[in-house]
């Protein structure tokens, strides 16, 4: 073991020196693309941890597939009624399975006080939130990618012809789930009853995007033209933009006070 050593103290930390862009106003320099690299580092860490432990993805997938299987026995898969409730059923499964993933997003940082290490780091609350949201988004999309074919088989639905539209709806509504879930995960991280609190806060907030997603998914799966339902697309896009900006702005207060 060689001695631990320090370089001579300077006003600016060593990390800033080599990759820095000098500021004309005399402000401390910032490394290029540091924010994006921080976000990707945090997202990569979350995904790597999840791939190793599989603690949430296994539970969420098992839950989703079991629910789809049970409902397929409860209804007659060939009936028109199934086609009418397809969107609602699919998004209920996504929502409940998603909550299992989102619940662990910030609480997994409590082990060894890793959340403190991240908050004390140069990553801002917004960057920390964005990294976690990105990882959650990938995990939720992965779960949905597995559930969708299972859903098609169990309920005898063919949606391949409308796949691009369906993917767009899923991408928009899943991002809505992700941003609200990640934000509330940060808000409830220090609560003892966070497993209970997160769904209690999450589901009411997700009523507008889930309504839109259900309506659009049902229309798409029925093979009907979107027509007047484009308003739901606008709602999803608007919701995503507003709550992404709002969450990124507020998360620092949620984490530090």
């Amino acid at each position: 073991m060689t001695p631990l050593s320090f370089t001579e103290s300077t006003d600016k930390p060593a990390a800033d020196k080599a990759t820095a862009v000098t500021s004309a106003a005399g402000e401390p320099p910032k490394p290029r693309f540091a924010a994006i690299r921080m976000i990707l580092a945090i997202a990569g860490k979350d995904l790597r941890t999840e791939i190793r432990t599989k603690e949430t993805i296994n539970a969420a997938l098992a839950f989703a597939v079991v629910i789809l299987l049970l409902f397929s026995y409860a209804f007659d898969p060939t009936s028109d009624q199934v086609r009418e409730i397809a969107g609602g059923l699919l998004w209920l499964v996504f929502l409940f399975a998603g909550a299992l993933v989102l619940n662990r997003s910030f609480s997994r940082e409590l082990t060894n006080d890793c959340l403190d290490a991240l908050i004390a780091s140069p990553a801002s609350g917004a960057q920390l939130w964005a990294g976690k949201a990105l990882a959650n988004y990938v995990l939720l999309l992965a779960i949905e990618a597995v559930c969708l074919p299972v859903f098609g088989i169990f309920y005898n639905l063919t949606w391949l012809g409308q796949l691009p539209l369906l993917v767009l709806v899923i991408a928009l509504a899943t991002w809505a789930m992700t941003i609200i879930g990640t934000t509330f995960s940060a808000m409830t991280v220090n609560l003892r009853l966070r497993e209970l609190m997160l769904p209690t806060l999450l589901y009411p907030m997700l009523i507008p995007p889930v309504m839109g997603a259900v309506k659009l998914t049902t229309t798409i799966m029925a093979g009907d033209p979107i027509g007047d339902d484009t308003i739901w697309f606008r709602l999803l896009i608007g919701y995503d933009i507003i709550f992404t900006l709002l969450s990124a702005a507020l998360v620092e207060i949620l984490l530090v006070g």
């Binding site: 631990l4 320090f6 990390a15 800033d16 990759t19 790597r48 890793c114 290490a117 140069p122």
Partner: protein
């Protein structure tokens, strides 16, 4: 130059005042031993200094900047009660993660150096959950100070370290002091802390009971301050 200014800091948990009007300055390059009994408010104060918590009233400035300013967070290294490393990542992956977050240039070389310096180079690919407590603490030291912070905050740094680990950490902190770093550490290991410290602050029930230079009398009798002030 003043590295840290703590101005009339109050912190409440509900109705309970954990800190009551704490004010003091710390000069650049000094080493402050933050002493006090359990529940005195040392960890609460360190969390505020580290930007992990906001004071209810008062202000803290690091080199004249707010503790939550990005430039301040790059200047601070925090080794808290928790080690702040991920059990499911390897030692190398943990350091690489924080090297990327701190935008450390030539991070691969820096990570390798710190693994060697902390004696963890042979287990660099081992998952942290398989490490002993001492190894985890050494990795935490590397994680906290790899980015060469100018202000180092340590909360009970000697806890969980064996004799060898304590010696390594003391050498490391002495080296940091020689390099002009500012160190603030809370601890119950009075002798180790006072040997390193240039200054002493004692907190009693949320109030600053004593603040001054470390003296030979304190080294001769480490419990002296507790007997007089609390």
């Amino acid at each position: 130059m003043t590295a840290l200014q703590v101005q009339d800091v109050w912190k409440y948990f509900g109705d309970f005042p954990a800190l009551r009007g704490v004010s003091f300055d710390v000069e650049e390059g000094s080493c402050l031993a933050l002493l006090g009994r359990n529940g005195a408010g040392k960890t609460t104060l360190l969390k505020i200094l580290a930007g992990l918590s906001r004071p209810g009233k008062g202000a803290v400035k690091v080199m004249g900047e707010d503790t939550r300013a990005e430039v301040t967070r790059r200047r601070i290294g925090v080794l808290g009660h928790g080690i702040g490393i991920y059990d499911e990542l390897s030692a190398e992956e943990n350091l690489r993660l924080f090297a990327r977050i701190y935008s450390i240039p030539d991070s691969e070389r820096v990570v390798s150096q710190w693994l060697e310096r902390t004696g963890l180079q042979n287990v660099r690919e081992g998952l942290v959950r398989e490490f002993s407590r001492g190894m985890r603490q050494r990795l935490a030291v590397a994680r906290a100070f790899m980015h060469q912070p100018t202000l180092m905050l340590l909360d009970e740094p000697f806890t969980a370290l064996d004799d060898r680990g304590i010696a390594v950490l003391q050498d490391f902190l002495n080296d940091a002091r020689r390099a002009g770093r500012t160190i603030i550490m809370s601890t119950h290991q009075l002798r180790e802390a006072l040997e390193l410290a240039t200054d002493v602050a004692l907190i009693n029930r949320g109030k600053l009971a004593y603040r001054g230079a470390r003296t030979q009398e304190m080294l001769d009798d480490p419990t002296l301050l507790y007997r007089i002030y609390g």
